[in-house]
């Protein structure tokens, strides 16, 4: 980061490209300047602004865990100008990165508790950082359950990780696809995420739930959690909004007086319920 100009990005080289799902890719990025890389740190939950030089910046969470040093990862879906430009890049190309921005999942507060991760579709990336982080500190937590669903099998991201998590005896992984999204060989669950959550009948005692997904999934998931006794301060989510600067100046990501880039993107359900209806 040159001098004190907060708008200048770090330069990153793409080390690895993984095609997760149709139009969804993960980049593993390493700092071009190793010194900067060594001094860089972040915590699970934070995001960055990623530059496709010539096109602009796009906002994605940092999808890797701070426990894994030397690189950061981001996962994005090709949807517009900048993401299309990023999607056309390959190993060895340069991407800009500004960050880390935003608040963090308060992982230390969860030590000694059970964790229930619930994610849908392209919303697994913002959770993957905190899932990895917690799995890398596995003995600090009691039970860990991961419930992940997508529209169809093809849309499931992090297929490698899902295998890894499935094979861990200390993780209860439940994967589901929407009815109709399964292939004949599918052995996982079939049903919308909130439905499967109900089926799992999660225990809320001493448990933290972390939820991320499309608005429709969130809408039907929260009542299920409530049904099983999860309090509003035991449920966490991560929100997104249109962002540009990432540090609370450009004025566009606010929901009421709350800046998603500064006071978020991580919020408890209690905080979310206090937000005015403009997101």
């Amino acid at each position: 980061m040159e001098n004190d100009n907060i708008y200048i990005p770090y330069q990153m080289k793409i080390e690895k490209v993984t095609v997760e799902a149709p139009f969804v890719k993960t980049f593993r990025l390493r700092f071009v300047n190793e010194e900067e890389g060594k001094q860089f740190s972040f915590k699970a939950g934070q995001f960055g602004e990623y530059t496709a030089f010539g096109e602009g910046e796009s906002t994605f969470c940092i999808a890797s865990s701070p426990t894994r040093e030397g690189y950061i990862e981001c996962t994005f879906r090709q949807a517009g100008r900048v993401t299309s430009a990023l999607a056309s890049l390959d190993v060895g190309d340069t991407v800009g990165f500004r960050g880390p921005y935003g608040n963090v999942f308060p992982i230390e507060e969860w030590y000694g508790k059970s964790l229930l991760f619930i994610a849908g579709g392209i919303a697994l990336p913002p959770m993957r950082c905190v899932i990895w982080n917690c799995l890398d500190l596995r003995d600090k937590f009691k039970d860990i359950t991961i419930l992940y669903g997508a529209k169809c099998e093809d849309d499931l991201v992090y297929k490698e990780e899902l295998e890894e998590w499935k094979n861990r005896p200390d993780v209860n992984l439940v994967v589901t696809v929407d009815p109709g999204g399964e292939s004949p060989a599918w052995t996982g669950e079939i049903g919308f995420v909130p439905t499967i959550l109900d089926k799992i009948a999660p225990k809320s005692e001493n448990t933290i739930a972390i939820v991320c997904g499309p608005p429709i999934m969130i809408k039907y998931t929260f009542p299920v959690l409530e049904k099983y006794g999860f309090g509003d301060t035991s449920v966490f989510t991560t929100l997104e909004n249109r962002m540009k600067c990432g540090f609370g100046k450009c004025g566009r990501c606010n929901i009421g007086k709350v800046f998603v880039c500064k006071d978020g993107p991580v919020f408890t359900l209690e905080q979310m319920k206090a937000l005015p209806q403009e997101f």
Binding site: E2, N5, A79, G92
Partner: protein, 337 residues
Amino acid sequence: METEKRSLSKASLATLIEQLNGNGAVVIGPQKKDNLVVFEPLHTLAEMTDEYIATTQSPKDVAFPKIERLFNYHVTQFFVDQEAPVKNYPEVVLIGARPCDAAGFDSLTAIFTWDTKDTLYMERLALTTLIGMSCSSHDANCFCTSVNGHPGSTHGSDILLTRMGKGDFIAEIVTEKGKALYDKYAGLFGPDSGEDKTKYLTEVPVKFDVAETVKKATGMFEHPIWLEQSLRCIGCGACAYVCPTCACFDIQDESAGSNGHRVRCWDSCGFGLFTLHTSGHNPREVQSQRWRQRVLHKFSYMPDRLSLVGCVGCGRCSRACPVDMNLSEHMVSIAEA
């Protein structure tokens, strides 16, 4: 520091402007341009006009220009060469900003320096000396006194001039920066004439109690008043762009081949595109939601987060608005709702 009073004759002001120019400062002052009065580089006092309540645009672009280059880049096959812009910001002396304009910089500074520091803004502001001009008249759009301002307020000015009728000026040296300029040109200033500036100031009636209105507005998120007030709003950015406290911006990459640069440019929460997600979802789909954002940002969120009201009552938004959205009128109806 304690404000010091001096006097400045018209002739001396003329000399000051010439000498400032001669010493390499960029002097900016209000000038007539067809039907408008605009802040432009000023070379002589003769170019300056005093026939204005407020200029059309605020002087915020001395520190927050409509386009600011953030950095340049050059893309090759193997790397990207980034280069911070060469910062040769000029030394600026802004003459003729009204007390509301001077106070406007508070809001910008609060936004650009809270948490992370926008050094581009800070450095430009640091190089700007503000010689304000108090107000001997006002119009129906002014409401500085409703938002903690005053036609003779020294707040935000480094030196405040008050014109005594059509003649010479009372000069108040307000800040260290003002003192530094005064010290350099002390010969042009005379001693305190003993005149009281109050008799040369206009009186701006208070239209609403800002503290009460802020409290009221904060509880009105779901109120039908936003639709009522914004029916005639056509969603342009005129109000935001002429406003001395509006700081919302966009960041854009502009490139030609392998060379390019990133700029920060003015943006407005009134535009439909402002909060549009790539998915097509827009949290503020209709104009009434965007109008609500404009008002609450200035009169609720900023007071809450930055402890100041994001409005100085200059009335420019109302004057510039093509459809006569009158902010003080709207604030009064919020206060009375």
